[in-house]
């Protein structure tokens, strides 16, 4: 036997077997390669996402709403974070003891909490906007199923004093009214987000990418002066309360720049607690309501007549009868004085005199005057709900309408428009733009009347507060005051209401070089002396005196104490 040639040890393997093996192995590799292409190439995004979702998180970076401050940097509106407590009712388990503790912390009754939890499934707010310290104590109760999230709440330290100017924000920190709404895009922050890697304990270990940086809202510096605003608000309140009036507004303008230094309205509300509010409280009447201004409009007609050379302050007007009949209508003066000069027409607020001056003017020129001082157009404030007032086109005017418009009937303006229009007298003929934001440089005015006419007008308006004028109560010790009263009947159902009036006063001081313009309007004073000179002028005087002192304006008149005439001795006026 030849063992070496054993058929077992030297088998003659068929070639196909090794080829089969090779093919199987190659096939195996192909499958692996295919799987590889599938995972790394085709399915890559999905898998990457699955992986990321296990450690990578996109987190929100919250941005805060900008602050609103007054012109001296005093904060008027600040956002601070608060917590809202919410629950998943199915997951809430607490002992009766925990429940009563929670109820006490949230200032709710235990039954109320149970009711809240049974109301909905999945998600329910227990209490929104609670202070962070309180939220911390709620967290310390360790009640499962109870969660908190962060929200911002807006606080207004000055409360009702600034309410209508600032407006307020909703629960989602969006401006709803006033400055908050008008400057929403400036104040609102843009929340950002970033992608981070979190470890097993939920701690951030790495910043992988900043998707969008958070942008805090910009701060807003208003033209308002908080001290002046408080003064204006308290004096307006006094005027409205003592005359038992329905409402009132006051505007304080910087005569040199057109900045609004104070803007007060009554009735007001507390923006920090808006539970019982009505539209009447919310309205910023000085801006959103237009009314027939009455005699406060007379100076514009007179200024136009002087500018055109039709009259001078000393021209005699035939007002002796105290009435003027145009067609079927008759215009009355409240008192008969005999013939008056143009200056006396202003001083004593004669309707007949103003009507006669108006009838000597072309309708188009009067319309131009009203238009160029800003009546009939919304004031350039960018404030929500601005009233534009109403000035009808001059082609439709009848003579009687032209006559009555001279003393402010048949035309409507807002108090803000009126205050601004008076800048033409204060600024030697130039109309100033208005601003609710603090200005760094005085703006450029638009010339409406010549400086000479404006000075003559100021001299005439000074007579109004002198004895024999309609508003001696508007005087301020140490300063020369120029202004004009208005007592207009209220329009109602297309006619004029019998005993409803709007008493107003618009004035400026110091008259030699006016620094401030103050316009006061009191709606429906229901006391016997409802005249502008009796109701609005004292408020004007008090605010003007305080404001000039605060601003350190040097006096321009001798410092003799004023002797005010007894109540009711001012000359009454018809409009």
């Amino acid at each position: 036997m030849n063992y070496a040639a054993s058929p077992v040890l030297a088998p003659q393997l068929p070639l196909w077997r090794s080829r089969l093996l090779l093919a199987l192995i190659a096939g195996g590799f192909l499958v692996l390669a295919g799987r590889d292409v599938y995972l790394q190439g085709l399915n890559h995004d999905f898998l990457q996402q699955q992986g990321d979702s296990r450690y990578s998180r996109v987190i929100q970076i919250s941005a805060t709403r900008g602050e609103i401050t007054d012109r001296n940097g005093e904060p008027l509106a600040i956002s601070t974070p608060v917590k809202s407590v919410w629950a998943i009712p199915e997951e809430v388990h607490f002992s009766p003891q925990q429940r009563s503790k929670l109820a006490a912390l949230l200032e709710m009754s235990p039954a109320e909490i149970d009711k809240r939890l049974s109301e909905a499934t999945g998600f329910v707010y227990l209490k929104r906007q609670i202070p962070p310290e309180l939220a911390e104590r709620v967290r310390a109760l360790h009640i499962p199923g109870l969660f908190q999230n962060r929200e911002y709440r807006r606080y207004y330290p000055d409360g009702d004093v600034m309410a209508q100017v600032l407006g307020f924000t909703g629960a989602d920190d969006e401006g709803q009214d006033g400055i908050e709404l008008a400057y929403q895009s400036t104040l609102a922050g843009k929340s950002g987000s970033r992608r981070v890697i979190k470890d097993r304990l939920g701690q951030i270990v790495e910043d992988t990418e900043s998707i969008r940086p958070a942008q805090d809202g910009s701060n807003l510096e208003l033209s308002l002066d908080a001290r002046l605003q408080n003064l204006a608000f308290s004096q307006l309140k006094l005027a409205v309360d003592s005359s038992k009036a329905k409402a009132g507004s006051m505007v304080v303008l910087d005569a040199k720049t057109g900045e609004v230094l104070a803007l007060a309205n009554l009735p007001s509300y507390n923006p920090n607690n808006r539970s019982d509010l009505s539209g009447g409280h919310l309205r910023n009447r000085a801006i959103t309501d237009s009314y027939e201004p009455g005699s406060t409009l007379k100076p514009f007609t007179v200024a136009l007549a002087i500018e055109r050379g039709e009259v001078t302050p000393d021209t005699m007007m035939a007002t002796a009868g105290g009435t003027l009949t145009i067609g079927p209508a008759t215009i009355h003066d409240a008192h008969r004085f005999g013939d008056m000069t143009v200056a006396q027409v202003i001083q004593r607020s004669s309707n007949v005199g103003a009507a006669k001056i108006a009838l000597g003017l072309p309708a188009e020129a009067m319309w131009d005057m009203f238009e160029s001082v800003g009546f009939g157009n919304p004031p350039p404030l960018n404030f929500p709900g601005e009233a534009s007032g109403k000035v009808r086109p001059y082609k439709t005017w009848r003579p009687i309408e032209q006559a009555t418009m001279a003393y402010g009937n048949g035309i409507s303006v807002s108090l803000m428009q009126l205050a601004r229009a008076y800048t033409i007298f204060a600024d030697d003929g130039e109309l100033m733009p208005l601003s609710l934001l603090r200005l760094d440089a005085p703006p450029i005015g638009k010339r409406v009347i010549s400086a000479a006419t404006a000075r003559k007008m100021r001299a005439m308006l000074e007579l109004v507060v002198q004895p024999g004028g309609t508003a001696p109560k508007a005087r301020v010790m140490g300063y020369r005051v120029a202004g004009k009263t208005g007592t207009a009947r209220k329009e109602e159902n297309g006619g004029y209401a019998a005993h409803k009036y709007i008493a107003s006063f618009v004035g400026m001081a110091p008259a030699s070089n006016p620094r401030l313009i103050i316009a006061v309007m009191v709606d429906e004073p229901s006391v016997e002396d409802y005249y502008g000179g009796a109701v609005a002028a004292p408020a004007f005087s008090a605010v003007m005196a305080g404001a000039l002192r605060m601003l350190g304006v040097p006096p321009d008149a001798p410092l003799t104490p004023l002797v005010l005439p007894p109540a009711g001795s001012e000359i009454e006026e018809g409009t």
């Binding site: 805060t64 005093e74 904060p75 600040i78 956002s79 601070t80 974070p81 962070p132 606080y155 330290p157 000055d158 409360g159 004093v161 701690q203 951030i204 270990v205 790495e206 910043d207 908080a226 001290r227 408080n230 308290s234 010790m477 140490g478 040097p554 006096p555 410092l559 104490p561 004023l562």
Partner: protein, 93 residues
């Protein structure tokens, strides 16, 4: 050849350890940065609240009330005021 391989191996190990420690340091520093930023945010919030508190206490209406009621202060009457004019303005009178 073997020597060079050993040296390279040692270098590799050192580099790897360096990477680990630097990564560790990064994370520590990052955690520190994070907590400092949190603190900054917290202080910012507190600043806002303090500002709010300050302006609530310093409300003009409140100050006026305290001055009037508790301190019995009042605005002087017109005949008790004397205004001292600055020299320049006084000369112009």
């Amino acid at each position: 050849m073997a020597r060079i391989n050993l040296i390279l191996l040692a270098l590799l190990v050192i580099c790897a350890l360096g990477l680990v420690t630097s990564q560790d340091k990064t994370r520590r520093l990052f955690a520190e940065l994070e907590s400092e930023q949190d603190l900054a945010k917290q202080l910012d919030i507190e600043w806002g609240q303090l500002q709010l508190e300050q302006s609530t206490w310093a409300r003009h209406a409140r100050i006026e009330r305290i001055a009037r009621e508790r301190l019995h202060m009042s605005v002087p009457d017109a005949n008790r005021i004397q205004i001292v004019m600055p020299a320049a303005a006084g000369a112009g009178q």
